[in-house]
Amino acid sequence: MKQLLVFIRKEFFHVFRDKRTLLIMFGLPVVQIVLFGFALTSEVKNITLTVIDQARDVNSTQIINKIKSSSYFIVDESAVNYDAVSTAFKKGTAKCALIFPAGFGNDLQHAGQAQVQVLTDGSDPNMAKTVINYLTTILTTYQREISPGAQLPYRIIPEQRMLYNEEGNGSLNFIPGVMALVLMLVCTALTSVAVVREKELGTMEILLVSPFKPLLVLLAKAVPYLVLSLANFTLILILAVFVLHVEVKGSIILLFLVSTLFIIACLSIGLMISNTTNSQQTALLLSMMGMMIPTLIFTGFMFPLENMPWIFQMISYVVPARWYFLIIKAVMLKGLGFSYIWKETAVLLGMTVIALSIALKNFKIRLS
């Protein structure tokens, strides 16, 4: 036991001696969480809308004013014809256009039926769909307002309540997502070089003659990183609460416990990579470059998982960050207890066991 403590202490010194890596390890997640917490939003805002008003009557002017007063659009009235729209689209200076034909108001007043045309730049489909949604809402509301008998009988009025997010913070979904993504990648990368570095630098022999069982050697290697990652998580959480104003609605203790488990799962995956590769470069490429994009996609905070073909949904099951994202959402944002997240927790536990076993199996007891 005493020997083991000495061994762990040595590993600690090893890790803490490298001030630069420490600085990077703590600095980067902090900057990222703050940056993305503020910058990423699910809302679509400040869209430049080119308006061509060939009618110039009361109705078209009223509608344009309504659009101007919404926060979604920046109205640009400099274009005069289709060619101008086409040029603006090609230059990327406008994303959508609204065209009132001549006689718009006249048709609306006398025939009760008028047309407008909406053009969108389909190269950004998300924006195009959102614009169409916004404009439809604005036009429908307007049409209802000016229709005779707007105050009709039988009105059903929906009262919308925003659960878990009263302020309508558009970044709320991204914060746990970025937390899961950053923690997973950082923790995996940290331990992915732990063993392979010794192989590369030829210091494996020292490990092999140590009196400990391979499992203990591996754990001793992981302990300093676990401490570091926990400190890192704490820092991220403090930032989320005090800088991004995310309210932790559930139990802090539960949050810490499941986060610790998630970190251990990621460290184990890192050890697995470290024991199955032969160079730091390969290990790092696998743990960072190889995992970054899949993690980003399969965590489910950016692209809804339910839309994906079933094969991808299967793939997403092996991404630890996906389960952790669900856990954090449930505990931190919805204030739910353990009974809601036991399944996800069990999955993370299972992953840890599997990754550690593979790591152990590949931990070379002898020099090749």
Binding site: R20, Q32, L119, M127, T137, P158
Partner: protein, 372 residues
């Protein structure tokens, strides 16, 4: 020149000898380019709805049927109480709870007005907003319908109707692959040029082989060029590969000029290699280099308009976005590939990228010390 040719030979050999690196450069991008666009889809297909009907009247039934038939919603459960319906939201099975209060029909007839409760899981903003607006649309429709059918005392006045015709240019069906495929292509180039080059140079430092180069008559610039040129070539190879995959798998063929596309790719790669070199001069282990590169690539990925619109971000974030080469390159690739924009349309971005290439490389070379 002769020296440089030798160095290049050696570097190319090293790349082709290491199967892992080669796979990382060629196989992984191809696989990712084939697979990822299938997975990246922002479409909200349907909103899951849990219904609490406390009225059990003809009208409340009709309203629920209308919502179910609208095509926007999947009614996943009819719960006896709000508390129970909320359970579906807590377990992520429902996005919206619709609550119809007792006396719904009676009040509608007597008072002409009745409120109903719509509770939305607002953590996911997109779904919340869509679910809410779909529901409003359906209810407005239902209001009309109730008036016409049930309201004996109501004579419909002349309504006003604004018809809207839509057209999505360059992508009539608003399909996501047109948006995602160019983005993945740019992302892969970025990873190869920015990540791998940094790692490659730092590796020499960490292994101490840089010392050996220092005692040879090789000049600084020869060493650097020898490191960067192979990656630049590989980058263009991957770019070509990516265009081929786009064509074969996704049927996307650039509308604009190929020469223009390659011109931009060539300049962009130079800028990104400068970035990789810069990272390598500030770090001394592969782990450090990886972390720094990771930090920037994350920013590139999430802030440069690859998957989220830059225009929606706050002003200061847009300023940061303008400071990354990726933002400009992805914009240009989309413009040339999808809209057939010409050089006149993308002049500004070209200047930006040339600027990045010059600044990043000069900075890197200034900071690069041959003596480690």
């Amino acid at each position: 020149m002769k020296v440089l040719r030798f160095i290049l030979k050696k570097e190319f050999r090293q790349i082709f000898r290491d199967k892992t690196i080669l796979a990382m450069m060629l196989v992984m991008p191809t696989v990712q380019l084939i697979i990822l666009p299938l997975a990246m889809n922002f479409d909200v297909k349907h909103v899951n709805l849990a219904v609490v009907d406390n009225d059990h009247s003809t009208w409340s039934q009709q309203l629920i049927n209308k919502i179910g038939a609208s095509g926007y919603f999947r009614i996943i459960a009819a719960a006896p109480s709000f508390r129970e319906a909320l359970g579906y939201i807590e377990r992520e099975q429902a996005d919206v709870v619709l609550e119809i209060p007792p006396g719904f029909e009676r009040n509608l007839v007597r008072e002409n007005e009745q409120h109903i409760g719509v509770s939305v899981d607002a953590i996911n903003g997109t779904k919340a907003a869509l679910g809410g607006s779909y529901l409003l649309t359906v209810i407005a429709d239902f209001n009309q319908h109730v008036r016409l059918n049930e309201g004996g005392k109501f004579v419909p006045g002349k309504g006003m109707n604004i018809g809207i015709t839509y057209s999505n240019w360059y992508n009539p069906l608003a399909e996501y692959r047109f948006y995602v495929v160019p983005a993945v292509m740019v992302l892969l180039l970025t990873l190869i040029a920015g990540f791998l080059s940094a790692l490659n140079i730092v590796r020499e430092k960490e292994m101490g082989t840089i010392e050996q180069i220092n005692v040879t008559p090789i000049k600084k610039w020869q060493f650097i060029l020898g490191k960067l040129v192979p990656f630049w070539v590989m980058g263009l190879v991957v770019f070509t590969l990516a265009l081929t995959v786009e064509r074969v798998v996704y049927g996307i063929w650039p509308v604009g000029s190929f020469a223009l596309l390659y011109l931009f790719a060539a300049v962009y790669l130079v800028a990104l290699l400068g970035f990789g070199l810069l990272v390598s001069t500030y770090t001394d282990s592969q782990l450090q280099a990886m972390f720094v590169a990771f930090f920037f690539v994350m920013i590139f990925m999430l802030m440069s308009g690859l998957f989220t619109a830059v225009d929606s971000m706050p002003g200061w974030a847009q300023d940061i976005a303008a400071l990354t080469p990726v933002t400009h390159f992805v914009k240009v690739v989309r413009m040339i590939v999808l809209k057939g924009s010409t050089f006149a349309d993308v002049q500004k971005e070209f200047l930006y990228l040339v600027g990045f290439a010059v600044v990043l490389n000069s900075w890197a070379i200034w900071n690069y010390r041959k003596t480690s």
